[in-house]
């Protein structure tokens, strides 16, 4: 009995609660073997071919004028110069000197209208590729990526991870909506590993193995007369946990070559970018790194010097590192925000919320490096050419990683398009 087949989507019962790697993901231990992901040639090959997505979210609303669409010497341009980049004719703000050298890897969209000047709604629009609608909650790009690109039950690690600037980590986020809790994000506050991932010091590996063996034995006996999907899921969840525990080094950037770590920088964002790369390399489908905070109603220019000073060099190092490892061809990188900032400079030298004409940058898998699409007018107050909505971007992300973005999900047998059917992919920036 489908619970509700049209125009409403509460998903109240259609998915069991937050079963991250829950029942449906359980039931196979074999494919990776006990060594987990990195253990064999076949897996390495698999990892190479696997498409991944990295979203860098400049939280609070980054200024397009201080990044991808500078307007020097205009009433809105602010004090910074535009500098040339590795792509002739394309200029970035001088606050991005290292990133400018990566311009040949980047595609810039300069004509985005994301419709809402509200932080929460804006973030939702950018991450779901839709305007909020009554009666349906759309899944975030992270959940969509994990669902469509993930390796399902053979994956040892979660498919959808977000690295937050600070605070606690956690499971059970609501960002997967009807796709189900298996694809909801796992948050790593300040890049710290999930709680209780590491074996406590007073538990020796031998004792741990012995008690696991006895637990399995007890479960096998119990299952002789009381086997059910629920007991299987419970038993299997310990096998799943063991696979993740075996990979716990992935979460530990101290295990990284110090020279590489230095290139990223030892400050928070550098560490978080490095962690993101480690996770992607280990087979995590989607990672989002948030950098906070760009909400510069006051002193926009000073704050952007600081914020982009943290961002610029690690971001360039990240692109180089992904390229060096042969991962950039299979990893889509997106630098976005929940909105841009007003061209008008307010009386506190700030810029306010602005969704009408701003920019995002893309790189990597499926993206035509060096491309620029869309234009704003001379002082950036309006889109002059090729207005883009978040739906266009959502189609583009999916197409870039090889997915037909016009297909549907079918929660409760109701067709829901992957991406907003009123929009289409931006072909100019697709490789």
């Amino acid at each position: 009995m489908p619970r509700c087949t049209y125009a409403c989507n509460t998903a109240d019962h259609s998915v069991s609660r937050r079963s991250f790697l829950g029942t449906t993901a359980l039931g196979t231990t074999a494919a990776l073997g006990a060594g987990g992901f990195a253990s064999g040639m076949a897996n390495a090959e698999l990892a190479k071919a696997q498409k991944r997505v990295l979203v860098i979210f400049l939280s609070g609303g980054v200024s397009q004028l201080e990044t991808w669409d500078p307007k020097p010497n205009t009433d809105t341009g602010g004090p910074f110069k535009a500098i040339s980049t590795s792509v002739p004719g394309t200029h970035f703000s001088e606050l991005l000197p290292h990133t400018a050298k990566q311009a040949h890897r980047l595609a810039i969209v300069r004509s985005l209208n994301s419709v809402s000047d509200d932080h929460g709604i804006g973030a939702k629009i950018m991450l779901t590729g839709r305007k909020p609608e009554a009666g349906v909650e759309y899944p975030h790009i992270g959940a969509v990526s994990a669902k469509l690109l993930g390796r399902g039950s053979t994956a040892a690690l979660p498919g959808h991870i977000q690295i937050l600037p600070k605070g606690g980590g956690g499971f059970g986020n609501a960002d997967s909506t009807f796709l189900g809790p298996k694809f909801a994000s796992v948050s790593l506050g300040d890049g710290k590993p999930p709680a209780d991932l590491l074996r406590p010091k007073d538990l020796s590996p031998e004792s741990d193995a012995a008690r696991e063996d006895f637990r399995r034995k007890l479960n096998d006996r119990f299952a002789k007369s009381r086997k059910s999907a629920a007991t299987d899921a419970y038993s299997e969840s310990y096998e799943q946990a063991e696979r993740v525990v075996k990979q716990s080094d992935v979460f530990d950037i101290e295990k990284e070559n110090p020279k590489v770590a230095d290139r990223y920088g030892r400050h928070d964002l550098g560490r978080h970018f490095l962690l993101a790369r480690r996770l992607l390399e280990a087979g995590v489908t989607y990672v989002k790194v948030s950098h906070s905070n760009y909400d510069t109603h006051h002193e926009n220019f000073d704050f952007h010097i600081e914020q982009l000073g943290e961002f610029d060099s690690p971001f360039a190092a990240l692109l180089d590192d992904l390229a060096d490892r042969g991962m950039l061809d299979t990893t889509l990188v997106v630098v976005m925000s929940e909105m841009g900032r007003t061209p008008r400079i307010n009386d506190r030298y700030g810029r306010d919320h602005w969704s009408k004409a701003w920019s995002v940058a893309l790189a990597g898998c499926g993206i035509k490096g060096g491309a620029v699409v869309g234009k704003t007018n001379a002082n950036g107050t309006a889109v002059a050419d090729r207005e883009i909505y978040s739906g266009h971007l959502f189609h583009t992300y999916l197409r870039a990683v090889g997915i037909d973005s016009t297909k549907n999900f079918y929660p409760n047998d109701r067709p829901i398009p992957y991406a907003d059917p009123k929009t289409a992919a931006i072909n100019e920036i697709l490789a």
């Binding site: 009995m1 409403c8 790697l21 029942t23 809790p181 796992v186 991932l197 007073d202 004792s207 629920a230």
Partner: protein, 513 residues
């Protein structure tokens, strides 16, 4: 009752003069053509004693309680145990958890503190307040009197958000998830109409939180005007309907229309809570709990049945409609009628169900049974322990005096998302890591290790371990496992801790079986 109905009932349930448990069993047996051949036998004593303690006190029995029951040779010992547990303080604790989760579904305690709410429920359960009376209190209290304010939690903690309140009144009290009917008549379920949804909403559409929804001390106020109108999103003509308060399937309630100028007892003004001359919300409690609104008692009975049997007669418990019929329609009707005629006595109903063979059946699947239809009750369903049961059971297994301290961490780890029902069992990575390596469980294991360390004989260790954690005696194989483990142990305490952990992490422990 008309004669033809009476005769039909007699045929259906056997002799109506039989005690209710026997009539329940008769209807369950009639629910499968080969019931007698296929059904599991009665649970053995150990299975029964663990189940009864978990269901009626919220935790597993102590070693003393298990052995007392196992060695009791009285033929009525099960009935005696049921009655004593249902009359014990543990029953109040268990039913407080049940009613709290049923009514509040893990929503944040934004207006009424948890302690005050639990105290309110405990008092109601301890005096076995009739369920209809309890719900009338909950739906009519405005939160203004500090002494009775906890009763208003249902509305206050939902901040009287009209759609949330409408959804939850219909789901929690009427067994119908009308959410789909917010925007249009349900496309595939004939009985879920948009007019039913807004008929419920009309009871509360004039109510609001005063002075504002965000104030922690807000109380419920009401205006004298305001209509509920709706348009179907399917209707191209956008025809607008206006609706006044009405219960599901019933006629709209008559509304008083005060004279102009007399709409308010207390007129709205700055910083004044208005009180209308005629209150729509005041109609709700009576209309919802009226005997003719059978959905109310039917939903309560179904939810209590689901708590005890691991599955509602209507499944899911908020999905009652004509194309999702009950597994045993006559049984649900019988229980509903009896519940009403016993004055909505929850404890009585729990006791009646507990005394059935259906409740006391084993969860071990007989070898002749291949595919188990979960809705036939041939075998007892496995019930995952609730977060609270799990906290108390782990504490009890480790020999700690109370599980109260562990409830917080277990709740935050194992509860459903706020506002969502605790649905099908799932086991998530964070939950498993919490049990596997988390400090909460590790801290609790120490007391069991200390007790076991005093025992030298491996068989005595095995007895104590299995009785305290799994509420049963070990099998010969298990005794051998324990003896082998202890023989090869280099660090005896670490081995004892590991053995205890393995039992606690086993599927046998995780489920009420």
């Amino acid at each position: 009752m008309p004669l033809c109905f009476l005769l039909a009932a007699l045929v259906a349930v056997g002799d109506a003069r039989n005690p209710l448990p026997a009539r329940i069993d008769t209807l369950i047996v009639a629910g499968h053509p080969d019931f007698a051949k296929l059904a599991a036998p009665a649970a053995d004593d150990a299975e029964f004693v663990r189940r009864a303690y978990l269901d009626f006190t919220g935790t597993i029995p102590t070693v003393t309680q298990v052995t007392a029951f196992l060695t009791d040779s009285s033929p009525n010992k099960r009935a005696t145990l049921i009655n004593s547990l249902i009359d014990s303080p543990g029953y109040v604790r268990r039913m407080t958890w049940f009613l709290d989760v049923t009514l509040m579904e893990r929503l944040a305690d934004v207006k009424v503190p948890r302690a005050a709410w639990e105290a309110y429920l405990q008092a109601a359960i301890a005096e076995n307040r009739p369920y209809d009376a309890l719900v009338r209190e909950i739906l009519s209290n405005d939160g203004a009197d500090p002494k009775t304010r906890p009763a208003a939690k249902f509305f206050l903690d939902r901040e009287l958000e009209p759609h949330l309140v409408t959804r939850d009144i219909s789901r929690i009290f009427l067994g119908r998830n009308l959410t789909c009917a917010q925007c249009h008549d349900h496309p595939v379920i004939d009985d879920y109409k948009q007019s039913e949804y807004y008929g419920i909403q009309a009871f509360v559409n004039r109510s609001f939180l005063f002075p504002n929804a965000k104030a922690p001390t807000a109380i419920i106020a009401e205006k004298a005007e305001g209509d509920v109108t709706f348009v179907s999103v399917f209707d191209k003509a956008k025809k607008q309907f206006t609706i006044t308060p009405k219960m599901l399937g019933a006629k709209a309630l008559p509304e008083e229309k005060p004279e102009k100028g007399k709409e308010y007892k207390v007129a709205p003004a700055a910083n004044v809570r208005p009180i209308p001359a005629f209150s729509r919300r005041a109609l709700l409690a009576g209309a919802l709990t009226a005997p003719e609104n059978t959905a109310f008692a039917r939903t309560a009975v179904n939810r209590i049945w689901a708590m005890m049997l691991g599955r509602g007669l209507v499944d899911a418990v908020d999905w009652d409609h004509s194309s999702n019929p009950p597994s045993h329609p006559e049984l649900l009707e019988l229980l509903t009628d009896e519940f009403v005629s016993h004055n909505y006595d929850v404890k009585w109903l729990v006791r009646q169900i507990a005394h059935t063979q259906t409740y006391q059946r084993s969860s071990e699947v007989p070898s002749q049974l291949k595919d188990i239809p979960a809705d036939r009750y041939l075998v007892a369903n496995l019930k995952p322990l609730t977060p609270e049961q799990l906290a108390f059971a782990v504490a009890q297994a480790c020999g700690q005096p109370s599980g109260t301290g562990a409830v917080g961490p277990f709740r935050s780890m194992f509860s459903a998302r706020p506002g969502e029902p605790q649905d099908a069992f799932s086991s998530t990575l964070d939950q498993t890591l919490f049990l596997k390596y988390g400090a909460t469980v590790r801290g609790m294991l120490a007391s069991r290790t200390a007790a076991l360390a005093k025992l030298t004989d491996p068989d005595a260790v095995a007895e104590e371990l299995f009785l305290s954690v799994l509420s049963r005696r070990p099998t010969p194989d298990e005794k051998k496992d324990i003896a082998d483990a202890l023989k090869s142990a280099t660090d005896r305490n670490a081995t004892l801790t590991g053995l205890t952990w393995a039992l606690i992490a086993s599927a046998e422990f995780r489920f009420n079986h």
